[in-house]
Amino acid sequence: MIITTGIACLLLVGTFLVLVLLRVPVAFALGIATIPVVVLDIRLTPFLIMDRMFQSYDSFILLAVPFFLLAANLMNSGKITDRLIELSRVLTGWLPGGLGQVNVAVSMLFAGISGSSTADAAGCGKILIPAMIKQGYSPRFAVAITACSSVMGVIIPPSILMVVWGGVMSISVGALFLAGAVPGFLIAAALMGTVYAYARIYDYPTAGKPSWRDFCSAFKGAWLALMTPVLVIGGIVGGIVTPTESAIIAAFYSLILGMFVYRTINPKELVSVLYETGRFASISLFAIGTASAFGWMLAYYNVPRLIVGLLTNLEFGQFGTSLVIAALFLLFGLFIDAIPTIIILGTVLFPVATAAEIHPVVFAIIGIISLAFGLVTPPYGLCLLISASIANLNVVHVLRDTVIILMPMLLILLIVILFPEIALWLPKTLMPATFK
């Protein structure tokens, strides 16, 4: 038989939701959810599930993902992270809530070097969460602030999500990078404000005033690492290197720093970094394959056209549509990883955004910030899972603090939606050619 749009939508989305709620891994749930329609519809066969998955890997854009992860993992194992923490300590440790501020500041630095939030949560969390607990911070707060600050990794350039977004929707990756910077810094400011409030209420200590000598040695230790963003962001924005190449250059740079300058990586460790990178990258990339199959099925049954028609008819206007877009990305982010969501939802909403006259770059930034929140929102929040596991806590226990910390961050998202120029200003200034 031939299935109608309504039934297909119900079968695909319904099966997926049931499977995910019953704890079938997301990547498999996406693939399994395509089976009922394939069985019922005479026009489709299992060939399509395999083919749509397999062909999605034929992409030079996705090739950037493992290299960005490799660079981040090398930073962690090369103790570059430690140096960034030390620098953050002298810069912000003297504020009330010292180590909390350090946690935010180092995530900001890390974000400027790496494109991955999970590597930030894992690398910085491993050091800062135990240190914070030792100084009397509540473990729940330590975990929540680590997770929430790590989301800057994909908002402040470089960013794996922006590379994929630009590739899937044919938008300048350089412009996206620049557009993420200001919102990213605003989120950092919001987080520091939150830490300050926490410190006042719970009387958290400072991490001590640094001496001039501390300051110099911290800066000397970290300045080589701080050159990475110049290489990566400068290279891409200047159109000199491709995102994949920039990631591999960043990886090489971290490797050289780790092996020869700081001498903290040995060959044995390098082997484990390579394996960990491959393992972690392939888990997310595999999900992209089944998400592509799922997304193709939706497209085959005209579901995107239905949604676009529906949303366009409602005529929410620019602000209303932006809110709906953010809400949908936040909702999807609860259950699915960010990259598959870009493939399934981003492509569907793109025409909706265009119809509402939302600038493609603003649309991307709204989408990416919303998806970044998904990294810390259960039931599927990778950064929260990673941070919680460092402190041996259940995600449920850190929920309250996470929600509190997310509030000011959501406010920033709202501000970006209200004043899109916040995102557009930097790319418009530095890349005027892209905006003519």
């Binding site: 990547a27 390579l274 990258a281």
Partner: protein, 164 residues
């Protein structure tokens, strides 16, 4: 016995994934060198080779994650702790994964054949070389998840004896 075999298989996959990530650097680094330094000429096959390796990394990694149980899932309901609860919860997940795996194993053979009648653009390589990863993944996922299913059932049985 079976467990040792499967763990050994997974260990082989781990070594392969680590090695392939290292190898993946080569063609991409060659592109960078060719483009910016001119030390080596611009080779036309580097991108294709990078893509081949990439496909293998993704598919091998997906197999490892089935054995290690590290494919990401979503925790909505609390983890089951009762004997029956654990059987049903874990059993259901593993049956679903096994079903998908068996589908890939069965239809993947045809898909690999579909690859074998194609050849790549630059290297003129027979595409069976990459398409084979589909049925391979199917078989390995099947073996791993069916074994885990058997383990869950064993645990269920043993805990039944213990409580009597």
């Amino acid at each position: 016995m079976i467990k040792n075999f499967l763990e050994g298989l997974c260990q082989v996959l781990r070594v392969l994934v680590g090695a392939l990530i290292a190898v993946l650097i080569i063609p991409v680094a060659m592109q960078v060198l060719a483009r910016y330094t001119g030390i080596i000429p611009v080779y036309l096959w580097t991108e294709e080779l990078a893509n081949f390796i990439f496909v293998w990394v993704v598919m091998l990694g997906s197999m490892i994650a089935v054995w290690e149980g590290t494919h990401f899932d979503v925790l909505v309901f609390p983890e089951a702790t009762s004997r029956w609860g654990m059987l049903l919860q874990k059993g259901f997940v593993l049956i679903m994964v096994s079903a998908f795996a068996l589908l890939f194993a069965w239809y993947g053979i045809g898909y690999a054949k579909f690859g074998s009648i194609q050849s790549s653009v630059m290297l003129q390589a027979n595409l069976l070389f990459t398409y084979i990863t589909v049925p391979l993944a199917g078989f390995v996922w099947s073996a791993f998840s069916l074994y885990h299913l058997w383990e869950v059932i064993q645990t269920f049985r043993e805990s039944g004896h213990a409580s009597q």
